[in-house]
């Protein structure tokens, strides 16, 4: 049986763990429609007989609430922001992701460490340091990268929940208005994702297409993986 492979140095007690399931990541910026697609993928997978576990960014039991609170209180520096993301991911990794992979589930991750690498890197953290910090993350079987340019993202976000402080990266551009800040920030995030996309063989899906067509493309990529 396959064992879990990691991006780099992982704790010794996590190495050599057998992996019966599959780890599928859906990545992309705020407002690109990731969560909707994850829900739809999950339904489709379950209908076709696969047991699914979903895991979402900053939803850990350990620090999910701490992160929300710290973000709303603006107590974070880029360093503590990064380390809290790492705490959150590590908790979900060991409590949700690894047990599910062991047991043969399809794990659907709504965002993954690539979000942390992008967000923390644009906030000035060294890329090499970041990559080593998150080296304990398993290498996913498939990374689906939903891509949309920043002005189109802004229109979508404005039509749904409105642009919030962190989506606009206001901590980075306090002098700009909320729209300009959003576009400047998300453009930088997109640059990061685009760079990773080449290095790490993400499957890019053009999110300008109608939602049904995007979902179709996601499903065929997942179907190919599960047939292997």
């Amino acid at each position: 049986m396959r064992t879990i492979s990691f991006h780099g140095a992982a704790p010794e007690y996590l190495t050599g763990i057998p992996m019966a399931g599959r780890l599928i990541v859906v990545e992309g910026t705020d407002g690109v429609g990731r969560s909707t697609h994850v829900v739809n993928l999950r339904q489709w997978l379950e209908v076709s007989g696969h047991a699914v576990v979903e895991t979402g960014w900053t939803r850990s039991k350990l620090v999910g609430r701490t992160i929300d609170k710290a973000k709303s209180g603006h107590m974070l520096s880029p360093l503590t922001y990064t380390l809290l993301y790492a705490c959150d991911f590590a908790d979900r990794l060991e409590k949700e992701i690894i047990p599910a992979l062991r047991a043969g589930y399809v794990v659907l991750a709504d965002r993954y460490i690539y979000t942390a690498l992008a967000r923390c890197s644009v906030r000035g953290m060294e890329t090499d340091w970041l990559a080593r910090l998150f080296a304990f993350a398993p290498v996913p079987d498939l990374v689906l990268y939903l891509r949309l340019d920043a002005p189109a993202l802004a229109r979508r976000v404005l039509l749904s929940s409105g642009i919030d402080y962190w989506e606009a990266g206001k901590d980075m551009f306090p002098q700009m208005d909320i729209y300009d800040s959003f576009v400047a920030y998300q453009s930088r995030i997109l640059e990061q994702f685009d760079a990773m996309c080449g290095e790490r063989s993400f499957q890019t899906v053009d999110a300008r297409k109608p939602i049904e067509q995007v979902q179709e493309e996601l499903r065929s990529a997942v179907a190919r993986l599960l047939c292997e």
């Binding site: 780099g8 140095a9 992982a10 704790p11 010794e12 007690y13 996590l14 039991k61 350990l62 620090v63 609430r65 701490t66 710290a70 107590m75 974070l76 520096s77 360093l79 503590t80 380390l83 809290l84 790492a86 705490c87 590590a90 908790d91 990794l93 060991e94 409590k95 060294e126 340091w129 080593r132 910090l133 080296a135 304990f136």
Partner: protein, 227 residues
């Protein structure tokens, strides 16, 4: 980031006390602080695991025994990063003396004893300012255990390494786990040049050594500043 290996540029002085639980390092740190203050120095004291940012979450994780070696390590790194930002660097820039009860070396020794990768630990903590004085209070686990047993009612779960399932008996687990921590500390003394103090000596004897080491460093600093 390689700050932990390079001298810091700040006018203040960073003093670190290290050692296993029951080594007496906190007592020594307090005596040092009183003495420095009596000499007119401005001293700022900061201790491990005390930042408001993650204190509650860490406590909840410890209480429910749901922390893994990795999350245990990362929670403490977050705590340290937050204190480094707010409590360690600003007083050093202001020319004060900072005394830190435990530092990155605690994480290196303790988390590696739990199976966390040593290089990963060094990378994670590479933002830490290098101390001017790092004192390691070395004691056997038997002595530490005896001190802890007389000082408080119960040895704590993670302190005893009970999460490692080394023994069902808490005292025995403490002995096995903390012996591993001590062997890692011993290696850190060479790697980072920690000053080892025999923590089985009397409290005043140890304190006299501590004050000598700190005074020498202060004089060196003042001479360097005048040059």
């Amino acid at each position: 980031m390689t700050r932990l290996k390079e001298p810091h540029p700040h006018p203040g002085l960073l003093i670190v006390v290290e050692g296993i639980d029951g080594s007496g390092k906190t007592t020594q740190a307090h005596l040092l602080k009183s003495w420095l203050e009596s000499r007119g120095e401005a001293v700022f004291f900061t201790e491990w695991n005390s930042s408001e940012l993650v204190k509650k979450a860490t406590r909840a994780g410890k209480k429910s025994a749901t922390l893994t070696p990795l999350t245990f390590s990362l929670m403490h790194a977050t705590d340290f990063a937050d204190r480094h930002l707010y409590q360690i660097v600003p007083p050093l820039k202001a020319g004060m003396i900072v005394i830190a009860d435990r530092y990155a070396y605690t994480a290196f020794a303790r988390d590696e004893a739990r199976g966390v990768h040593p290089e990963w630990l060094r990378n994670t903590y590479s933002f830490a300012t290098r101390p001017d004085v790092a004192l390691y209070f070395r004691v056997s686990t038997d002595v530490a255990l005896e001190r802890l047993s007389s000082a408080r009612a119960k040895i704590k779960y993670y302190e005893a390494g009970m999460d490692m399932r080394l023994s069902a008996d808490i005292a025995e687990s403490f002995g096995i786990f903390q012996s591993r921590v001590v062997s890692h500390y011993d290696r850190l003394c060479d790697e980072y040049g920690l000053t080892t103090i025999d923590a089985t000596r009397t409290i005043p004897d140890q304190q006299a050594i501590v004050r000598d080491v700190v005074l020498a460093r202060l004089r060196e600093r003042r001479r360097g500043g005048a040059a």
